[in-house]
Amino acid sequence: MTAQLDALRRRVRSSAAEELLGQMKTLHGWRSLLLRLRAFVALIGIVIFFSGVSPAFFTGSNLLVMTEHVAIVAIMAIGETFVILSAGIDLSVGSVAGLAGMIAGGLLNNGLILHPLGIVVWFNVPLVILIGLGVGAGAGAINGVVITKLGVAPFIATLGMLSVARGFADLRNNGATFPNLAGDAKQHNGGFGFLGTGSLLRVPFTIVLLALFIVVAVYIAKRTAFGRRVYAVGGNERAAELAGIRVNRIKMGVYVISGICAAMTGLLITSQLSAAFPDTATSYELTAIAAVVLGGTSLFGGRGTIGGTVIGAFVIGFLSDGLVLVGVSEFWQMIVKGSVIVAAVALDEAQRRRQSRASASASSLIEEVMSSDRPATQE
């Protein structure tokens, strides 16, 4: 963009071009860059601060452990990002994670008991994981149908699912845990622990998984028609509809993605603990939404990035772990986290206003520059 503007400046020596250039500089200048990268700046600040306070913070092993913690929330938050980009919200992700964990735990410990036939079907670990993710996709699909076909507001539909999925998670073993998910050699279903505790080329597998989710999600958001349509639906649903976009399909898609990501988080936690608790990931939806918002995604839809969300998850994760490391009380942690989130959204609003003001005043300048530009292009 700057290159074009420079070229423009060479051609047009009008005051309007100069002024426009000045405005574009403020729009793309370092100050605005800092504002746009504020989550990243906050992250660096957190790292510097805690490194100073505690020597244990900035060590390879601690950074890896913290990143593993981050990955769990980040994967869920990546799914949530698609929903929020479409101007929706998914409050059910924590419960869906819990349900997926309980389903997987039950299959590993007890297999699938087909009562009328009196037989038990066992699945190997990859299949258990697929079924767990399928549970998440199913819950997301139900959210999608309730929202698109029954016309229930996303907030209410997923609030319902928050309760329903948690209820099923409790029902799965009457409120009890599935402990010791090591698997059974006879049934060839050992190795579930690799998901959460294994490592690949000395990198914890959880982090590998996070990298995989980031790459795929960024690709979907930036390089596919689906991703572009998610932004369009979130930005202006009516316009998207009149441009021939099947809005309901897009909405179904984002809730299914969110369900799958939530289930992945549930499976990771279950694998790390080697036990499935029915209350796994309770209230994680708030952390996930906080990460999305911290990363600069607008709750009104249409604006935001996957990268931002991941950084947001790092900010929240490093902040909590850092506070633990320096021995700050859990209650103070809640206060700090809450304040950070609200401050982030306030900054976001400030940036939005700044940008729309700049766009508005740029519009008349662009017109002038382009009109005076015309003779120059004909040569």
């Binding site: 940008q355 766009s359 382009m370």
Partner: protein, 511 residues
Amino acid sequence: MSEPHSTPDWLLRAEGISKIFGGTVALNGVDFDVYRGKVNALVGENGAGKSTLMGIIAGIHQPTAGRIILDGNEVKLDSPRDAGEHGIRLIHQELLLFPDLSVAENIFAGSELHSAMGVRMREQERQATQLMERLGQRVDPRALVGTLAVGAQQMVAICKALSQQVRVLIMDEPTSALSTREVESLFAVVRGLVADGVSVVYISHRLEEIVEIGDFVTVLRDGRLVAHAAVTEIDSHWIVERMIGRDPKELFPYEPRPVGAPLLEAHDLTLPRAGGGLWLDHVSLTLGAGEIVGVYGLMGAGRTELLHTLIGERRETVGRVVLGGVRVDGESIGARIARGLFLVPEDRQREGLVSVLSVKQNVSLASLDDLGSFGSLALRRESAEVGTLVRDVGVKVPDVNFPVTSLSGGNQQKVVVARALMTDPKVLLMDDPMRGIDIGAKTELYRIMQRLAKEGIGILFTSSDLIEVLGMADRILVMARGRITRELSRGEATSQALVAASNPHAVQVAA
């Protein structure tokens, strides 16, 4: 119109008024006189500054420079309340009434008649009835305003203004939603007010009305005063020329084109209205290749509903839609777009643009399926194709990655047109495409429409602006009350014929 006058004196004078919003100059040193007991018409295209000027006189906006003199004294109008205390009242185009309150409650909203016991409902109702009778209206003061016809609501808004002392009554586009009969009774009321000594400022872009009701006319263009005259000395052609700054024929340079085989046919489209009645009442039409057909009608005539039905937005409509020989009613919007139909919607902000996306992403929005396989986008090809189209339709933007919100209204409209062209349409539906864009962009957009028609695209557009329809269309369909009441070729179309056929009451009589 009015009794012969010597040199009329002015009650209110706005002197050298300038107003800058952000970086935009809305008004530039405008002088405006309001003559005592006269109808002072203020005309201009959208964006000429009419509403801003009236907002300043009514205390809504404060001028960046200039002063207002009332009865020989300079006054400061810092709020609508200030202006009201000086007897200056504005009736908004949107009326701003409470639909769920009664006529009397609306008239006295904000200035209720109190006693120790609370609001004096009976007294309000009595006075409301009196006020309405003064305007020759018989309306139950307890009726809810939301249940009244638009014309009657307009009368309630006037009564609200009259319920207090009023010296200057500003009416912003008061007839935009009225039927011909309602316009006539409004004019009778305005004449009565003027006879009572009220000075009226009448804002409109309908020329025939200004010639009929106005005593003086002031023309604004691009925030400047361009002309001022007594209505007796001028005609509508004079106003048009001053408004647009050139001959109207030059605005829409027409070139005859051959018309090909029918591309789009609609048969017996009928769309029921939620509250009873019909939005569309057995509408049939054909559109040929290379033909530009204009649909003229007042607000609520069914123009937008017709285009929405054709694109597949109103699935409850019954009737057949045939596109290129294939029946498409029952198909989704996406499927119809794939067959070569596209709608450029009426409201750019609400239905056209996705403001969070760039110019490029807005243009390619309807063509994403053609930009790669398995859902992944060929971003380079996107940039190249969008770049060509943007140059083609002349969107003024240095870089297609700029936010679409950084463009002016006319350029934003061209972005939507470019989006349509990227889908390779055979038929283009354009709902009031000239609305809210400046004269220069209008001419350019019209040139684009002509060029597309020459390439064989059929264009069906709507408008409520007589000049546009007469200037642009090869053939004109007039709508009223959901029906096509008249079909006129370019040669036989006159403004009188269009006005007569668009009168909703004529339809009722015929029915």
